[in-house]
Amino acid sequence: MATKVTTPKPDQLVTSIDFTPPKTGWMDTPTIIKPGTFCWGAKGKNLATVEFPNARDWNPSDQDWKLPENWQEIFLKGMEDLLGKYRSFKVFMDICVRCGACADKCHFFIGSGDPKNMPVGRAELLRSVYRKYFTASGKMLGKVAGARELTVDVLKELWYYAYQCTECRRCSLYCPYGIDTAEITIMCREMLNLLGLNTDWISGPVANCYMKGNHLGLEPHAIMNSIEGMIDDIETVTGVRVNPSFNRKGAEILFVTPSGDLFADPGTFTCMGYLALFHELGLDYTWSTYASEGGNFGFFTSNEMAKRLNSKIYAEAKRLGVKYIIGGECGHMWRVLHQYMDTWNGPADFLEVPVSPITGTRFDTAKVLKMIHITEFTADLIKHGKLKLDPSRNDDLVVTYHDSCNTSRGMGLLDEPRYVIKSVCNNFYEMPENTIREQTFCCGSGTGLNASENMELRMRGGFPRANAVKHVKEKHGVNMLANICAIDRATLSASMDYWVPGVRVTGVHEMVANALIMKGEKERETNLRGEPLPGKEGN
């Protein structure tokens, strides 16, 4: 499967964007599954690990997808089932007026010009099937009523475009009825999973997370090793040796962050930021190797799988007897925690309403979930003057901030991270208004699309976000893109290198730790990345 896929150069990619729709109508325009724009198919063994049906190896570029005999029946039965379970799905299938307000709001449409990537286009792919099998007019009038048969080609098309949507919800913001194409994609992916039509990049992490506690499949000692390495690095930079604990019963707080933070730069620097901050506060907290994943790739397969993975967080909090949970910087993780966790796996009545042990602030807005976002925790510390900060240590950075889709449109956490950033660095500039806060653009690689074989798709999807960064780079000299998402840290790094070379990517808590004056620290020469601090370049 390791066919080499080449990604076009940025200028080639831009000139290839053509907003003129094809001459033929979309139902009559066959979908070609193009290398560079799709992920490898799921491996049978990974699906089998989590007991998914029709587990097998398959390849999207093959003619034969090895579908089960009665695949159509399975798909339609699944659709009926979901229509019965979700009002959102039913209503969204019925009420779209095709006004097109959502059309040019999707980063994949902007980056590809493909009309099937307009949110409404994407939704119509499935809606046409809905009409054929679930509405009287579709059954009787067929194509005139916008209905079509579910053929193998249609199924392939549904798969192809369900995995060209990052469930970012930007479309739903502009829709006059709040139609959320992300929700439709979620349903579509769930139906596709009944047929084993997942991708390798999603099903692998899901299997890992199920068995080993995190997407990366880090075993307990590997997690500790990774953090040991960070402890050493923190000591080298600050002279302070931090001392976190793992799986410790009786700790006050359980800390959960995406495993991406443990693994690759620049996420690891964010993780060092958490470690340094918690140490400085003397926080009574513990990591868990069992619940070592805040993110949830299960959410990109089926609702049930998401719940199964998510269950570990409360289970572990209960086993360890902590009072509440702090969650690290991650986007989709926070949509899942905020909008789903308590409904799935609550009530967490064995936990207490979060209270900051340092400031005494009670986080009543999280009184049921009992889990707070680390930028809430830190913003509160800073507001109360509990941190000694020297923002000038970040003076080499000209920072802008990327709102993650999920924390913006599935939560509304907008000003807390900004407050933290502005407290720890002196040069901060916002990107243009229509590209931030609730209108933010996706990094282009969310919902498990951050593989390498679909790099062209990712760069297309990342174009609008990168373009806004380029704007502030040219205008204000921005050289650092801050965010609160582990996926962003990985994917935006790739997208910046491609679109806006010279701009790097950082988590917010990396900057916090760089500015943080720790008790007993030595005179700092470098930042957490080992690069000289401003003014120390000569040393």
């Binding site: 979700y86 006004c99 097109g100 009825y177 139609i179 799986n247 799935w344 509304g412």
Partner: protein
């Protein structure tokens, strides 16, 4: 084809009414309108109940501004990201009455030199608002046919609507606005390549139908001057369930009535149900108070999980070696 089918369908409807009404006034003046209203009312209720049968398992508002923060010093956007029922009410009112989300609309443009811009684009909002509001006002104005004495509020509406004081009978502004807005929405659909690409016959049909309704109405009021007294007699007959067919009503009126009947009957089967659906949209009608108030999923069921015990069984030796505490030695 996508445009021609609905176009000829509307023409056919007009012809059927013009010809048919000659043959049977009672059919077109009494029975079809009755049937249409029945279909509308029951169809609408049926559809809403059908939606309502599916639960809302998760609380999934699309949040469009700063949430209610733990910190009083961070200002919540109470209308775009409401955390209380009152806030949701406000958000819904803004959505339904002022098309809040469409007001946000932008237009993406790609310039040479890889520059993307997202300028504000208010025409769809304006066109949609003009269309829906004028339709509503015209509907309300029609109450003077439905009531023995024209109530005062309706007189005011009529008065305001004709404040330009042009022509005789006085020109209603909404008549012009409605036809203009429908034309705009139609042209937009035909002229914008993306919108045209996704448009279905079911998108053109209601626009053409409503244009037909507006056009026949305007012809009757300003040009053909249908006898209002007779029309009112017919309508009052229908409303009091003692239908009569007064003399002297032209075919034009029957065409108007037939198109309206078609619209009513078509309504529950079509995308026009967005009128009801918008109130049921979970991304808009729910409060973003997820971490504060529990939301119950009626079909939540136990799932197979990989427990800590199983995990420890898998890794016990490695955990012990790494110095991690274990439950079972």
């Amino acid at each position: 084809m996508k445009i021609l089918i609905p176009f000829f369908a509307v023409i056919a409807l007009v012809v059927i009414a013009l010809v048919g009404a000659q043959a049977s006034h009672a059919l077109f003046g009494i029975w079809i309108p009755y049937a249409a209203v029945l279909i509308f009312v029951f169809g609408f209720i049926f559809k809403v109940l059908k939606w309502g049968r599916s639960p809302v398992p998760f609380r999934i508002p699309t949040t469009a501004g700063q949430m209610k923060s733990f910190a009083p010093w961070i200002k919540q956007n109470k209308l775009d990201n409401p955390s209380s029922s009152l806030g949701v009410l406000g958000r819904m009112l803004l959505e339904v009455l002022a098309f809040r989300s469409l007001f946000r609309n932008t237009k993406t443009q790609l310039y040479p030199g890889t520059k993307l811009t997202y300028g504000s684009e208010k025409f769809l909002w304006l066109g949609g608002l003009a269309f829906h509001w004028s339709f509503l006002i015209i509907f309300v104005r029609h109450f003077r046919f439905f009531m023995q004495d024209v109530p005062y509020p309706i007189q005011i509406v009529e008065h305001l609507d004709s404040f330009l004081q042009i022509g005789a009978p006085l020109l209603y502004i909404t008549d012009v606005v409605l036809l203009g807005a429908v034309t705009f929405l139609f042209l937009r659909r035909v002229m914008m390549p993306q919108i045209k690409y996704i448009s279905l016959p079911a998108d053109y049909f209601p626009l053409l139908l409503i244009f037909g309704i507006g056009a026949t109405g305007v012809l009757m009021r300003y040009f053909a001057k249908v006898p209002v007294v007779s029309v009112k007699e017919l309508v009052m007959g229908l409303l009091t369930f003692s239908p009569v067919i007064p003399q002297g009503i032209s075919s034009l009126f029957y065409a108007h009535l037939f198109l309206v009947s078609t619209l009513l009957a078509y309504f529950p089967l079509s995308k026009l149900m967005h009128m009801g659906g918008v109130f049921l949209s979970p991304t808009r009608n729910m409060a973003n108070n997820n971490r504060e108030v529990r939301h119950i999923n009626p079909w939540n069921y136990p799932v197979h999980v990989h427990t800590y015990e199983e995990y420890e069984d898998d890794f016990r030796e490695k955990m012990k070696k790494a110095g991690l505490p274990v439950e079972k030695e």
